[in-house]
Amino acid sequence: MEKFISVSSSSKKVLQIAQMSSSLPVDVIILGQTGVGRKLLANEVLPNEQVFEAKELEKLILDNKVNLKEFTTIIIHNINKVLNKNEFLDNLQGIKIVATGFNENQDYINRFAVKIEILPLDERKEDLEKLTNIYIEEANKIYSTSKVPKNIKIDLSGNGVTLKQSIYKSILLQTMNKQDIMDTLYNFFITEFKAERSYKALLEIFEIPLLKASKTTYKSQLKMSEKLKINRITLRKKFTKYFGE
């Protein structure tokens, strides 16, 4: 089971608060952006507890499809998506709640005795480093490689979620061979033909990466034309078409 990463001082504090709240009969709300580890931290407060998506639980309560008396503790994710939050929480009185959500300036948040805010990953450098290494190791295992990705483009717009995606993508791309690329293109073209795309329009899929890579490798258009064995005027035309240069 995945654990909340707590190498940085801020996440160590956050984990400590979660562990202190664990044995107390108090409601806890964990706030932060998508992918910062709210669900994992909720599991630290209430390990192996039943988990509900807030919106689904709201519907179940409204439809009388859940017997709340069966619960003494509960984890609720994305409480911000509930329409009437105060009424929703009124229905759950007597149950220890651990909820996750976004930090918003709303009254219902003040009903929670313990409020934990997790910072975004770009403000937790040590955690980011640790997570990056974990995801690289995972991706290497899945794609049966031991490569350390070069020029990895880390995307932190969705914190841990997009970090994982970007690392997996980088490693996947580096492990692809000629046949993989051709198979991928084959599938891509099948889809594109449904939109009746022409040969000329689809040529950019091939030409843009080719030109970019050759520019990175050979630097000048003169050398590129020489090495690629393509007329300089034709090359310039293509650069103007794709990159406006």
């Binding site: 801020s10 956050v14 202190m20 107390l24 108090v26 005795a113 313990v114 934990i116 805010e117």
Partner: protein, 230 residues
């Protein structure tokens, strides 16, 4: 012949504080309630209150005035003098009909310091506030409504979030008790001391009541008192 002792005893046992000052503001006589009141307010302040509300000529002057000295509330005063030598002050207490009672089902035996630590850590996680702590660690585990108590002290810490430094003292009050459901309990006091004059906020009072606590302000001190239920 009239029995003067009866009047004296009547004042002595009155539920309202009574104080007799001489012309210099020295206390000549006071009753039991006044003795309790003097724990929370200075003699000088009460003397000034009496003088500033005295009638122009000899006689008695009643004034409806809201006064609060820590947790003691008064709705009126009576000031009287019949000579230049002494002046009397009587304060009329606000009496609540609410029975002092606690829902014991929601109480749980807990270490109060761990709750203070939890509240402090979660509320002040991104704050630069420095707190000098002075805790009486001999305080045993006590029964508290944990959720409501945390909601209350969270707000106490938030009250000081923009201060640079405060001190927090947690101790058992000596000689003071609270009567709940006809039982006498010692009092645990959390005293937050800042470097500025403080003012009470309604929401803090409401949250304190919910947590079975009393909250009041004394100049630069915010004091939260709760019964030590074992």
């Amino acid at each position: 012949m009239e029995n003067n002792n009866l009047y004296i005893e009547l004042l002595e046992n009155d539920l309202n504080p009574f104080i007799l000052f001489n012309s210099n503001g020295k206390v000549k006589r006071y009753n039991k309630e006044a003795e309790f009141l003097l724990n929370f307010v200075g003699i000088k302040e009460l003397f000034e209150l009496a003088v500033s509300n005295a009638s122009i000529n000899f006689g008695f002057n009643q004034k409806y005035i809201s006064l609060k000295f820590n947790k003691l509330l008064f709705y009126a005063i009576l000031v009287g003098y019949t000579s230049e030598d002494e002046i009397a002050l009587r304060l009329y207490k606000v009496v609540s009909n609410q029975i002092n009672s606690i829902n014991k089902d929601k109480l749980k035996l807990v270490n109060i310091f761990s709750l203070i630590e939890l509240s402090k850590s979660s509320t002040l996680i991104n704050s630069n506030l420095t707190i000098d702590e002075l805790y009486d660690v001999s305080i045993p585990e006590i029964k508290i409504n944990i959720n409501d108590f945390l909601l209350c002290i969270n707000d106490c810490f938030l009250y000081f979030i923009n201060d640079n430094k405060i001190s927090l003292q947690v101790q058992i009050k000596i000689g003071e008790y609270e009567i709940i459901d006809n039982k006498k309990y010692k009092i645990v006091a959390l005293e937050f001391v800042a470097n500025r004059k403080l003012e009470i906020i309604d929401i803090l009072e409401q949250k304190a009541i919910k947590a079975n606590a009393n909250i009041f302000i004394n100049k630069n001190r915010l004091i939260l008192e709760l019964p030590m239920i074992l």
